[in-house]
């Protein structure tokens, strides 16, 4: 553990969805802390609200979702009180995000470099050649040749695209990166390659990570602490070892038991 102070403090977060038949509460009074330099895992079945939390953290939730209550503090700053302009400056600089499907999270009609440049120039006002140099550096960091910057997303393989998104997430050296099931669309071998790379980068650069997945075994390999979600509530939070070896909630135990596993063989 690096430092013990909290980078993110979520208190009483409530997210509602407006439907034709009324309000549906997707996230209900959730408290969540992420420490500096920590990998926080958020696990649960699909529809439990884990992605909703991820999007709400950056205020990227979109109607019909509404953040109707609670507070989100990142590095002491009240995220929900930011004005639209301040929010724009804050996004990606403090917190960035790697989406589930890199296939769809890159803009198909802009080159990779143009998408880097959008971030770098928009936030730092750096010149085009400086942005180019920085983008090349970032590409090298995730093991892709700098020449690929001039490619369009469709010219890269799925694994490469997810690496590019990772490099973009690192562009402004944010303090927190949210990863929403970043490898579910990939084959296991590629998944493993990318995860080892993410962990190596984290060790070097020291960002915090909110890692969201429905695969508990995968989560146990990465996370320092794990939070288990069920129907919009966080029902259990604990150190990874405790969640793996001695879960308190019967639901957590049931989740473990329900997973097909390799190790039961030996």
């Amino acid at each position: 553990m690096v430092q013990q102070s909290n980078l993110v403090e979520v208190r009483g977060l409530k997210v509602d969805f407006m439907t034709t038949t009324g309000l549906f509460t997707a996230v209900n009074a959730v408290d969540l802390d992420i420490r500096r330099g920590e990998v926080m895992g958020l696990a649960g079945e699909s529809g439990c609200g884990k992605s909703t939390i991820a999007f709400a953290l950056m205020r990227l939730h979109r109607p019909p979702a509404i953040i109707s209550g609670g507070s989100i503090r990142v590095d002491g700053e009240d995220v929900l009180a930011l004005t639209p302009q301040a929010l724009r400056r804050w996004r990606w600089r403090k917190v960035s995000m790697v989406f589930q499907s890199a296939m769809n999270s890159l803009n198909p009609v802009l080159t990779i470099f143009e998408q880097f440049r959008d971030v770098l120039v928009g936030h730092t006002g750096m010149r085009r050649d400086a942005a180019r140099a920085r983008a090349e550096e970032l590409m090298k960091l995730v093991g892709i040749a700098a020449a690929r910057l001039d490619d369009y997303p469709h010219q890269l393989s799925g694994g490469m695209r997810q690496r590019v998104v990772l490099a973009m997430a690192l562009a402004l050296e944010p303090e927190l990166i949210i990863m929403d099931e970043p490898t579910t669309a990939l084959d296991v071998v590629v998944q493993r390659e990318i995860l080892t790379e993410i962990m190596a980068l984290k060790a070097r650069l020291g960002f915090s990570l909110l890692f969201i997945t429905h695969d508990l075994a995968l989560m146990a390999q990465l996370a320092d602490r794990i939070a288990i979600m069920l129907k919009g509530l966080i029902i259990e939070v604990g150190a990874t070892r405790q969640i793996v070896e001695a879960p308190e909630q019967s639901y957590t135990r049931a989740l473990w038991d329900a997973m097909p596993r390799l190790e039961t063989l030996s």
């Binding site: 079945e45 296991v188 080892t196 962990m199 060790a203 695969d215 146990a220 097909p260």
Partner: protein, 305 residues
């Protein structure tokens, strides 16, 4: 000696892909694949996306013809089946469970339609007898008969939809079932129960199964034997537990080492990350090379190394 229920003999399939520019390129999805499946047993075909495993599954059902080689069902080449009656009989014997449970159900029809139709078509049932059989099959697939029959697919969860797909296969009364990644689109937490349901039905009904998956960890739940596919070819084959415990082909080794394992931490060691990447690149390169010599690693466990 009775012939195996399914046998593939040097099966190859080349797809010609037309792109929007009008250019054509051919992709060899299956290259000289031979395998055997005995009645009442299950064979898992494990591989990454693009390894040819789904092509193999669809070719086995006869959904499309092979480019060369044969698919034999109970010793008979399915390409030689002629006539509506004979074809219907073959259809009744061979069924498939698809990967995407939503896409496999017609959004315009209720669950009842999906289950009644095969019973009418293949077993000529109607009236009370039909209702009883539907109820029985729904119960077998562990679905609630009072609350699912008149629902549309979009009203069901992913797990329920996949159970309906399973029930449909039971309704047809298949002897050989090709299950193409039946759990990969489901939540991790219900995968195991789905696998166990399939395994149980296999035993109870004496089904033969071709279980296609990218998740080698799930193979042993269902299949006595596992074959590993890589670059359109089979590179390792043996009893599931043997293949998992003592992998011989480099690709099988990489695949197994990549399976998430809760007791092993990824600690951010950049040297280890680089070493893994090098090994993966080396193995990937092998896909383009010629296949190695087949050797028997242990009794019944073969690998092309």
């Amino acid at each position: 000696m009775t012939p195996p229920i399914l046998e593939l003999v040097a099966a190859s399939k080349t797809f010609r892909i037309r792109n929007i520019f009008g250019g054509e390129k051919s992709v060899a999805a299956l290259q000289q694949v031979s395998l055997k499946l005995d009645e009442g047993r299950a064979l898992a075909i494990v591989g990454e996306s693009g390894s040819g495993k789904s092509t193999l599954g669809r070719a086995a059902t006869g959904l499309f013809p092979l480019s060369s080689g044969q698919v034999l069902f109970r010793g008979r080449d399915i390409a030689t089946i002629r006539g509506r009656k004979a074809r219907l009989k073959h259809r009744r014997a061979v069924q498939m469970i698809f990967q995407d449970p939503f896409s496999a159900l017609n959004p315009a029809h209720t669950v009842r339609h999906h289950l009644e139709r095969p019973l009418r078509l293949h077993h000529g049932l109607s009236g009370v007898a039909l209702g009883e059989r539907v109820a029985g099959i729904v119960a077998e697939a562990e679905l609630d008969p009072n609350h699912t029959l008149d629902k549309y697919p979009h009203e069901l969860s992913g797990g329920q939809r996949q159970r309906v797909n399973l029930a449909r296969v039971l309704a047809v009364g298949a002897e050989l079932v090709v299950a193409d990644e039946p759990t990969s689109m489901l939540d991790v937490s219900i995968r195991r129960s789905m696998l166990e349901l399939i395994a149980r039905l296999k035993t109870q009904r004496g089904l033969s199964l071709l279980y296609i998956t990218h998740d080698i960890a799930t193979a042993h739940y269902i299949a006595e034997e596992t074959a590993v596919m890589f670059g359109g070819r089979i590179v390792e084959w043996g009893p599931s537990r043997e293949v998992i415990a003592r992998p011989a082909h480099p690709y099988t080794k990489v695949l197994l080492s990549a399976v998430p394992n809760a007791s092993e931490r990824l600690d951010g060691d950049s040297a280890a990350a680089a070493a893994f990447a090098v090994e993966v690149a080396r193995v990937r390169g092998m896909a383009k090379e010629e296949i190695g010599q087949w050797t028997e690693v242990s009794p019944g466990h073969y690998a092309a190394v």
